[in-house]
Every structure is written in structure tokens, then in C-alpha cells.
Symmetry: C2
Subunit: 209 residues, 2 copies
């Protein structure tokens, strides 16, 4: 419902739901999912409780919409930007840089946290979010596989394990990286992309481990 | 208080507090921190509420004790096992393997989740846990620095960025890895240790990225 296809105009209800998601994410982040009531969220958004229920039918559904929005942002900001790139290496490198940018920019921190932390989403909705996460993993696996084939030789690691290593490195950034610290984002992004490509394709140093 | 120094005998109250932590972690994991009451936890442990308060003074303190126990497990199982290893590479490799084992074994899953997810721990106690996490990061940075020096040449990534890349790869495992799946733990551990060492020390493949 909230899904916005790049290129298509976004309706007013979609825009409003996104605004609700951003604010609600902040409230959940501060008070905890269980600790925040729909009343708290309505107040933060500037709606009556009935007005909030007009946009989203339950707290569980709201949590789902926030997670879905997090995946939309990934599609719209990271994947849309690399869709025109033909070369697998360059496409993978730009995906890494874009995903890092998404995780470290403060604007969507609360959404990132909610997307990745273990919250009490009911099974049916959790299944839908997991399916979207799975499609992104498959996109990465596929790209990694192409990069390995392009480079020739035996793959050094399975595309699946490499994809999750990448997701771990990048998604973990929200736990420790602060943009105001000494390492700036371009330096971070380059260091991590280079590290990943060495891990994927590099020759182990000759002194042997 | 709960801290157990390897080699020293553990007192009965320490053992009991650990048992409480393990059970409480499961209750928090299932009901959410805000959703679980001290009464729920007392019931799960088989104590009266007064009996539970005899061991731990508040819910906030209990959350802290669970996180502290998580760090104890890291000290006692991962770090104690590598303390006798002199060679930095081998020490780092065994640390990676030990840390992976800690994250993927189901026994302490709930504790791992609670240790890493963003929960409402009050500032003073959060500071103590963060100090313990920081010491582990410093241990890794220091070891990585030694490995880089041993290998000679310019370091390819700062020890700090490499340490967090490693923590991301390994700690993220709880999000996706299932021991009953097709990739068994020894294969996973070797693939990730090799990947990390290539990322740290490897030569980028000649075709250039």
C-alpha cells in the first residue's frame, strides 16, 4: 500500500503515511515498541487517535509499514541509482557505497534500527518483510556471482556467504559509526568497498595464515 | 557483581544470578523488554517476586546483568581460549572462530540479541556495558595492528575500521545464520576467517576495481 514505484507520482495518502512512519519510528525508538501507545504516536503526528487509525489500522500494521518504508528507501535510493550500470563490479561497488550512505545518514536512523532489530511483528506481516529482505540478498548474491565469473578462477567464497558478510559490515555501522567522528563517509565507503573486494577476489598474502 | 574470573570458583549467588539472566533473557526476547514484567520473570524462574528482587534490585539492573553476562561469556569462552596464543595471526584467527561459535550456538541466542539490540538501559549502566564492548574492540584493533605489522608493507585499512567490519560480519550472523541449514559452522568459520584475512592483507586482483 505504501509502496511507491520510482517514476510514478506519489499520492497524498502515501505521502501522509510516510510522514506518519518517520514520526512513529522516532517514537518507537525512544519509548520502545511496547512502551509507545497509538495515542503517543497520534499526538506526535498531530492527529487524533481516530485520525491516525484512518491511515493505519493497528500498531502492528504501523510497525510493518515502517519496515516496508525502510525497504522502499533501499529500493528508491540505492537500487534505483545502480539500475543503469551494466558492469557488475561497478554496480556492486556503487551498491555498497549507496547502502553505506543509507545506513549512516542520520535522517533515517530510527527506521534502520526498527528494520533490523527483533520486534514483535506478527507472522504474516513478518513474512512479507522477510521476503523483501530476501530479494535484496538475492540481488547481492547474483551480482557477486557475476563479479566472480568476470574475474575468472575458482570463487573464493560462496556468493551467499559473501552477501551476508557485506550486509553485516554495512548494517552494523548503525551500532558504532558516527558521521561527526574522525572518519568521514567517503573514506569509510571506500575503505569498506575495497575491503570487501579484497575479501571477495583478493589473493591471500604469501606468508600464509 | 556477576563477573566471574576464569579459574576462580563461582559462588552460589553468582550461579543463581546467571540462571536468572538466562531465563529472563528468554522472557524479554519473547515478550519484549517493556512487555515483560518482573512478575513474569519471577514466575519463569520459579521464584516469588520478592525472591527475585533479593537477587536483582530492578528490571533495569536485570537488563544490565544480562548484557554483562553476555560480555562475561565472550571473555570466558572466546578470550580465555586465545590468551595463551603468541602468534598474532593465529590468535586473531582463533578469536574469529571462537566469536562465530559464540554467536551461532543457539544456547545463548537470546543473550546475544539483547546485548546488541537497542534497549532502554539507563545511562550509567549503559556506559558500563559500552566500556566493556569498547575494551573488546580495542583488543581486536590491537591484534589486527600486530597482524598488519607482522605482514609488512602499508596497512590496507585502519585497524579500527577492520575491527568493526569483523564485528559486523560476525555479530550479524544471528540475523540470518541457522545451524540446521546447509552451511555447517566449521565451513562458515573458515570461509569468514579467510575472507577477513584477504580483506585485511590480500592483494586486490589484478583486473582492478
Amino acid at each position: 500500500m505504501i509502496r511507491h514505484r520510482p517514476g510514478s507520482p506519489m499520492s497524498d495518502p502515501q505521502q501522509k503515511l510516510r510522514e506518519i512512519c518517520r514520526i512513529a519510528a522516532r517514537v518507537f525508538y525512544e519509548k520502545g515498541y511496547d512502551g509507545a501507545s497509538m495515542q503517543d504516536i497520534a499526538r506526535a503526528v498531530g492527529l487524533t487517535k481516530a485520525g491516525l487509525y484512518h491511515h493505519v489500522e493497528s500498531k502492528d500494521r504501523l510497525l510493518y509499514e515502517i519496515m516496508n518504508y525502510g525497504m522502499d528507501i533501499l529500493d528508491e535510493t540505492v537500487l534505483a541509482k545502480v539500475s543503469h550500470i551494466a558492469d557488475p563490479r561497478e554496480k556492486l561497488r556503487q551498491t555498497i557505497i549507496g547502502h553505506i550512505d543509507l545506513v549512516v545518514r542520520a535522517r533515517d536512523l530510527e527506521i534502520t534500527v526498527i528494520l533490523h532489530e527483533n520486534r514483535s511483528l506478527k507472522a504474516a506481516l513478518r513474512g512479507k518483510i522477510n521476503a523483501r529482505k530476501r530479494r535484496y540478498v538475492e540481488f547481492l548474491e547474483n551480482l557477486i556471482d557475476q563479479v566472480q565469473k568476470q574475474s575468472g578462477g575458482e570463487p573464493k567464497i560462496s556468493p551467499r556467504l559473501a552477501a551476508f558478510a557485506l550486509l553485516g559490515m554495512v548494517n552494523w555501522l548503525y551500532q558504532w559509526y558516527r558521521p561527526e567522528g574522525s572518519v568521514k563517509e567517503p573514506e569509510l565507503a571506500q575503505a569498506y568497498a575495497d575491503f570487501f573486494f579484497r575479501g571477495l577476489l583478493g589473493e591471500a598474502s604469501t606468508s600464509g595464515v
